[in-house]
Symmetry: D2
Subunit: 323 residues, 4 copies
Amino acid sequence: MLARICNYAHRREFSSVWRSVSQHAGQRLDLGGIYPPIATPFTQKGSVDYQSLDENLRKYGSIPFRGLVVQGSNGEYPYLTTEERIDVVRRVRAALPTSKLVMAGSGCESTRATIQMSESMASAGADCVLVVTPCFYHGRMNSSALIHHYTQVADSSPIPIVLYNVPANTFLDLPVDAIIQLSQHPNIVGIKDSGGDITRISLIVYKTRSQDFQVLAGSAGFLMAAYSVGAVGGVCALANVLGQQVCELAQLCTSGQWDKAKELQYRLIEPNLAVTRKFGIPALKQAMEWFGYKGGVCRSPLLPLSEVELENLQADFSSNGWL
Amino acid sequence: MLARICNYAHRREFSSVWRSVSQHAGQRLDLGGIYPPIATPFTQKGSVDYQSLDENLRKYGSIPFRGLVVQGSNGEYPYLTTEERIDVVRRVRAALPTSKLVMAGSGCESTRATIQMSESMASAGADCVLVVTPCFYHGRMNSSALIHHYTQVADSSPIPIVLYNVPANTFLDLPVDAIIQLSQHPNIVGIKDSGGDITRISLIVYKTRSQDFQVLAGSAGFLMAAYSVGAVGGVCALANVLGQQVCELAQLCTSGQWDKAKELQYRLIEPNLAVTRKFGIPALKQAMEWFGYKGGVCRSPLLPLSEVELENLQADFSSNGWL
Amino acid sequence: MLARICNYAHRREFSSVWRSVSQHAGQRLDLGGIYPPIATPFTQKGSVDYQSLDENLRKYGSIPFRGLVVQGSNGEYPYLTTEERIDVVRRVRAALPTSKLVMAGSGCESTRATIQMSESMASAGADCVLVVTPCFYHGRMNSSALIHHYTQVADSSPIPIVLYNVPANTFLDLPVDAIIQLSQHPNIVGIKDSGGDITRISLIVYKTRSQDFQVLAGSAGFLMAAYSVGAVGGVCALANVLGQQVCELAQLCTSGQWDKAKELQYRLIEPNLAVTRKFGIPALKQAMEWFGYKGGVCRSPLLPLSEVELENLQADFSSNGWL
Amino acid sequence: MLARICNYAHRREFSSVWRSVSQHAGQRLDLGGIYPPIATPFTQKGSVDYQSLDENLRKYGSIPFRGLVVQGSNGEYPYLTTEERIDVVRRVRAALPTSKLVMAGSGCESTRATIQMSESMASAGADCVLVVTPCFYHGRMNSSALIHHYTQVADSSPIPIVLYNVPANTFLDLPVDAIIQLSQHPNIVGIKDSGGDITRISLIVYKTRSQDFQVLAGSAGFLMAAYSVGAVGGVCALANVLGQQVCELAQLCTSGQWDKAKELQYRLIEPNLAVTRKFGIPALKQAMEWFGYKGGVCRSPLLPLSEVELENLQADFSSNGWL
């Protein structure tokens, strides 16, 4: 990891000439593999529960993840203060072997805040930052605005950036033409796409492949399909719960065992939907408890699951043989 | 084909006991393969141009399609009279060798009209009918209503039915729970899903696999991904234009040549988007002309492409090496 | 009414010069007032129940409606055959005094079918036709296509046409610029707008007011607000049930008694939502029964209300003092 | 205003018994009137430009506004730091006569941050806070979660709170049943609804009227219609530009001069759309410059208008007689 950091620190000195520097394959940070976008445990009083976080990190250490995403949507980052966001990243970095990447969410609505947060994340030890599309003024967030935003952030970030498209939360799809243009920036190394539109994912892989641009599936529900069309990994909420199984699915895909992969993929779809679109983070944290992790409560206004939701959640795991 | 028809005619006698009859694998109509949802050519005066239709059918005859879909969305069926819809099916059946399936669109808004149209299509020689979700009163089109609708149609149809989910036109997604229940009906043999949600397609395959229920991708854009998760074929607008290539992609998938498949898949995405979501049927018909088919004009209110759209369409084919 | 028909029959002779004919205020068909978009009663076997229809018409005769809309969305027109659509209009015309307008829905997906249906409706005695936006290929239904469609229909229709915008069913909003241009056609006399966007309705009134173009609110829920910004009437599902009250609301608005109007408007909102967006036509027909009309069943796939829905519907009427 | 503050400070002591305290009409903060949701001027370097802000405030002082909204969506609050948000409110309070209300946006995604921000806004001199619906995890933001959120905020806020529904930015509509329940909280005095659904606005007025709950229209486009159904004022982006005219419209409505109001309302629709939905804050700030205010640039990623947009914006003002 040191090498990676030096590499980019070095690049940073020449930030003004980044655009003209020719890129050699291999220079870029290798993102390939599985990442859980980790949940943030809270104490009953609502503070960040660092002890529980450490316990989870210890367990994640034994799973062949490529790294962890800290402050993705599943980390409740919109509910954390700036300080908490940075502290959690620092804590994760400290707990993790250097062979594991720390990808830290640094996206804010304004360009200036995103720049500042990216620098803070780098200082806290992140290997790269995951930058969600700004979306509040979505009517004005066209290709030009988004290209401008990401270029400014990438120009100034001391560590590589990964684009983050999550329309279920932002109601915005980063246009493919913008992605193609941004893929040429030497400090933009990939995208996490959570939309699940496999045609779009295929097109992104295809149109950026001269750039060594890396595509990560944003969910375990379409992980195998994404691998089949050229994605190199996934950031999967479900990996917080069934991390070993998600890594196994990835391994089956990269080794070309598609039939076995398919069988495993099938059984992950319903549990994955349950902890994401269907019931969200409260379900993710509940399922973590069932599988030996510290999930706990969410910050308000996220409420705990109702009884009916809880039963439904359990059924989605048990009917697929996981509980 | 005679065997197939007899098989189902036989079943029909026992229509009241269909539900209790145990199904044997292999009994069902085998849908596996590629189908172009054929366009309907019109004369300058706006009548159905049967001569041009015959020319197209002759050319399609040399391509290894599993069959043709007649009166899918690309056939402008909402612009045809009831008589025209049936006549076109009769004409296609007459022109096609019996080894090729004729899948005829018979969906109408009301259950009674759909039942009647399905019977007419059977009489006109269709092997099976493709039944789009009714959608005008979409607020009431919940699982119960749709299960009721499809069950009534399937109970009375002399030929097997294929469910048809096309949210881009209907703004409705046939719920997965409804599909699972309907898959148990002996006269419902599969679904064409055009939505492109690969997670949903995977789940449908998985949850219906005890029923020998067959899933067809509704577009060439996600054909390979659909095969990878268990679909058995595709109904692809682009197959009207690049039929040989779409069949080749299918063949690469079924023979497990995923890497080659991926390379071909990539090059079909933009042409496919161009003749579907981006520019619709006027573009499909224009592209057909470029590739030696009779496309011609659409019925009003579908207007021809603008100059800019035309250039854009051409670029989507040429930049991928097809023109 | 004879005068009206003659007037337009006369115009029709000069159909080719319509565009250049200057319009005098007053020449146009006066649409001002309230219309129930009548429900179509069916027998238990599913045929059109003309006897029940006649009973309803007799009762509607005593209410100061401007006329009736036949084959609006509430008439289940997508579930009727072409012949049924025309027969029902003929029956209504025969039952109604000539002082009441018959506005007949004639919209189809294709321009040619809409032209033919408009002629049939004129022959069946309709005073004007209500033409819904075609929508199946909604991606291509831009201003140009819609202007082209409506102009062709208006050019050939023997009776005036009223535009019909109902995005809840069509997922399409007829663009304001298209409406402005179409308002200049001498045979297009107004619009029924069911979307409920009061800003849009205001803008339509404002931008078309040099054309004597008449705007009708498409729902009782925003009837008073629509009158306040310049609408001249309403086509209101609720008028099938509470016809006298909706007419009273209109009268309070046209006579400037806004405070009284407001009090009455309030009490109509929930019953109106219940028989439209919330529970649809099955609820409308059920409520008709409670108020002495013949509602009966819907055609499949529209199912009857569940017990819970029924209670909820009743509460929406009783809590507002109507039951 | 002192009286108001004391009143609520007093109430706060009894926060635990708020629910049981009977409310007397007149006790609540009177919100009736027009508010511009003020823009935040920035220097070329991107800092808050307090000098320009002061100039604007001086000019607004001569317009009969009920008060100003600070940190509404038009204030680019998602692009301000916590400190900037509070400082701007303090500055506005200092510049404004005490007869004018300062309504300060304090909404954050988490309940705890919203509570803290509301306290900071009160300390900075705000008379009440405007609390936008949290929305990032919109799939979980049901009535229960939103009622819980707002109740916690209202329980602890030293100043009254106004609910803020702005679906164009949040893709969420605060459910009417939640509003009805929240209207019973003594510290929740009203709602700003920017959705423009006049049926919904009518229903909110009607169902909360036993609570002295006040409804403000969130846009000048439907201001007159909102008054006609019982709203008591408006928070209108256009009031930053045409403040006098928006106030005049409000005065015509409250004095029952509906015909004059209608004529003025018409001419405000297009300029209003132009500075909101069509072109957003960059257009608002540009128009402010034309009318003698300091608008200036937006923070990134909001880009300036293109040439075409600029011309279009100008036309929307000039064609309505304002430029």
